[in-house]
């Protein structure tokens, strides 16, 4: 008994010992980066570090009217300091995100204050820019001064925190993320459905073909699967552009006029076509493996019992393929909602998905907190689906062709 228990313990340690290096590796190279990104979505010390005294003197400010003179004095000093230490740009950028237009106010003021040696600071600041006589400016500074904030998540959900602390929806013309999130979900669902529609018959054909032919057909699915994503995207640009192969064919067949060429790329159509193509193998492969395991004699039995082919399919075949349908659909959906490259290259402006917005805030607007929040929301969605997949299918059975 103790021997068995001991050997079990040894076996357990051995197994752990084998897994541990990889676990550590993934922890450092993958999980820690995700953590950094999520941290950035709630934590931002830049303004708090650059303007500590300003923020302290704003602590006594009720939010009504203008802040005390001490705040003006402190910010005049700290802005000049921030300019010398080259953190001014970061401070200005952050304040600007709360109240658009303040980046210029902050940088201009710091430049203007460079030559001023003495107060009264309130008058000096207001003379440089009248925005300093606007409580809104100070609200923005106080808001960005919080080290930990839910602002980015509110922003990502098209909401904002008002100066009195209450949460409200963004004005109509500033609501872009929820509609985009919604669009991403709908488009992903549409692509999943398209993949199922296109993939089900061919998976069936391959699964029930004689082995030799099945192998050939399977290669037709696997070649695109193994081909570089960028190659496939390039291919669709070649095919779909205005002077592309498909439009040329349509024109020479007389189906459309030379001036009536179809716009199939750099819009949502392009995104949907190219993504369906890219994701189709992820649908076909799990369907195929499920279908292959269904013996033909079930259908024969159904037929011999008098079922019409439709009935036999609906009552006997289809239910047995449901695990494959579920696995394929979930996988395609998971991959689709996080897709970036294909929409970026063929989607134009109307074919963009939520990932492209994450990229935009990472690379162009540099609103990293917001990028992190959007990414966090997307990640949470994917995680839920991933756990669902694990529950229903089992992750170790992910299909790899």
């Amino acid at each position: 008994m103790t021997d068995a228990a001991q050997s079990l313990r040894r076996e357990r340690l051995r197994a752990l010992g084998l897994v541990l290096p990889l676990l550590l590796f993934v922890g450092v190279t993958f999980i820690a980066p995700l953590g950094t990104m999520l941290m950035r979505s709630v934590h931002d010390p830049v303004v708090a570090d650059a303007l500590p005294e300003t923020l302290a003197s704003l602590g006594e400010w009720t939010g009504e009217g203008l802040p005390p003179d001490a705040a003006y004095e402190a910010i005049a000093r700290e802005l000049v300091l921030a300019r010398e230490e080259r953190t001014l740009g970061q401070v200005a950028g952050r304040v600007n995100r709360v109240e658009s237009g303040l980046r210029g106010v902050v940088t201009r003021s710091a430049r203007g204050l460079g030559d001023v040696t003495e107060g009264p600071w309130r008058e000096v600041m207001v003379a440089i820019d009248s925005a300093w006589a606007d409580p809104g400016t100070w609200h923005a500074i106080r808001a960005t001064g919080q080290r930990f904030t839910a602002r980015h998540y509110l922003n990502a959900l098209d909401m904002q925190q008002l100066p009195d602390g209450s949460v409200a929806r963004q004005p109509e013309d500033r609501r872009i993320y929820l509609p985009l999130l919604w669009r991403t979900l709908i488009v992903s669902a549409g692509i999943t459905l398209l993949c199922l529609l296109l993939g089900y018959p061919i998976a069936h054909l391959i699964a029930h073909a004689p082995p030799r032919r099945a192998n050939v057909l399977l290669v037709l699915v696997l070649v695109p699967f193994w081909t570089s994503l960028l190659v496939r995207t390039t291919a669709w640009i070649v095919l779909l552009q205005t002077q592309g192969v498909i439009n040329d064919l349509l024109v020479s067949a007389g189906l459309v006029g030379d001036d009536g060429r179809l716009a199939m790329i750099y819009n949502m159509t392009g995104t949907i076509i190219a993504m369906t193509h890219v994701l189709l193998p992820f649908m076909v492969l799990p369907l195929y493996s499920v279908m292959r395991a269904i013996p033909g004699r079930y259908m024969d039995a159904a037929a011999s019992l008098g079922a019409t082919p439709t009935q036999a399919f609906r009552r006997v075949y289809w239910p047995q393929t449901l695990p494959g349908v579920g696995a394929g659909s979930l996988l395609v959906f998971i991959l689709a909602i996080g897709y970036y490259i294909t929409p970026a290259l063929v989607g134009g402006s109307s074919g963009q998905l939520i990932s492209n917005m994450v990229a935009y805030h990472m690379q162009t607007s540099l609103n990293w907190g917001l990028a992190g929040a959007l990414g966090g929301i997307l990640l949470a969605g994917v995680l839920v689906l991933y756990m669902l997949y694990d529950r229903l299918v089992g992750i170790e059975r992910l299909s790899l062709g």
Binding site: F30, G35, S289
Partner: protein, 293 residues
């Protein structure tokens, strides 16, 4: 409609619609539909190949090409790629980063799969979920996180940083394929080896490794293909010294569309076919069709 029975050619021919048996019509429609889907899958890739020999700087078939005029075809884009320092450098970067990422992912992933295959492994499901998560996490999120984290530890804009990042992305593939091979592995074989006096290392090398080798190799190929095709992390983390082939293609598509990228694409298609053939061959050798199950 009953494709199941129809495909196996055993459909009952009871119903007739006009002169033609209805199920024959259905079967015809079904085959036609499948043909269209297969064309949809493969044609875009095939179209690239002839276009890469275009003598003109266009992305479409010229009249000369359609007349099979030899003048309309040329190797100029292949020459351009071959002579371009940027493309050659990117190939070297792709190979170096891919090779190191593959080695790391394969070694660590295989070890972990061996541990995961043990019935004694605690929290197996959770660990597995964690190890496979890089595969389902939207790559834009991974890339964003990696950009911050790797920059903060001084690995931004370095080959090492990219190698580590690509290793993380390739690991799930190794874990999945090797775990799949191992699940068909008869543990009694190791026990038999042990009872014959073989130490665990020898038992592993002489008994286990040869049996799981095909799974390990195809996992390695997947990991390599992942790195070789990866562009988002490279976009975020690479400087000009780390540009890879996909990064170069991205610039080619976004910024200076030139048929040269069709030449590169043709090369990558050939490369994909070779990879695919190798994996198929490994799978037959390993007798393990498991990842498909």
């Amino acid at each position: 409609m009953n494709p199941g029975a129809l495909a196996s050619g055993q459909a009952p021919r009871r119903r007739m619609a006009g002169g033609i048996p209805r199920d024959r019509l259905v079967r015809f429609a079904y085959l036609a539909f499948c043909t269209v889907v297969f064309v949809f899958l493969v044609a875009p890739i095939l179209v690239i190949v002839p276009l890469s020999f275009n003598a003109e700087p266009y992305f479409t078939f010229t009249e000369g090409m359609l007349r099979f005029d030899p003048e309309a075809y040329s190797l100029r884009w292949y020459r351009e790629v071959y002579e371009s320092e940027a493309w050659r450098g990117s190939l070297v970067n792709s190979l170096v980063i891919g090779a190191f990422a593959t080695i790391l992912a394969t070694v660590l992933g295989t070890l972990a799969a061996l541990g995961l295959a043990s019935p004694a492994m605690p929290a197996r499901r959770l660990v597995m979920g964690l190890l496979i998560s890089p595969m389902v996490t939207p790559v834009i999120i991974s890339a964003a996180g990696m950009f911050f984290f790797y920059s903060s530890i001084g690995l931004g804009q370095t080959h090492l940083g990219l190698i580590l990042a690509h290793t993380a992305l390739g690991i799930p593939f190794v874990v999945i394929t090797v775990t799949a091979t191992l699940s068909g592995f008869d543990r009694n074989l190791t026990r038999a080896a042990a009872s014959l006096g073989a130490g665990p290392m020898i038992a592993f090398r002489k008994v286990q490794l040869p049996l799981i080798a095909p799974g390990v190799l195809s996992g390695a190929l997947f990991a390599f293909a992942t790195s070789f095709d990866e562009v988002v992390v490279v976009l975020f983390m690479a400087g000009i010294e780390q540009r890879t082939i996909p990064r170069q293609m991205w610039a080619g598509i976004r910024e200076q569309i030139s048929p040269a990228i069709l030449a590169v694409a043709t090369f990558l298609i050939a490369f994909a076919v070779v990879l695919l053939a190798t994996v198929a061959w490994l799978r037959r050798r390993g007798g393990s069709p498991r990842p498909n199950r």
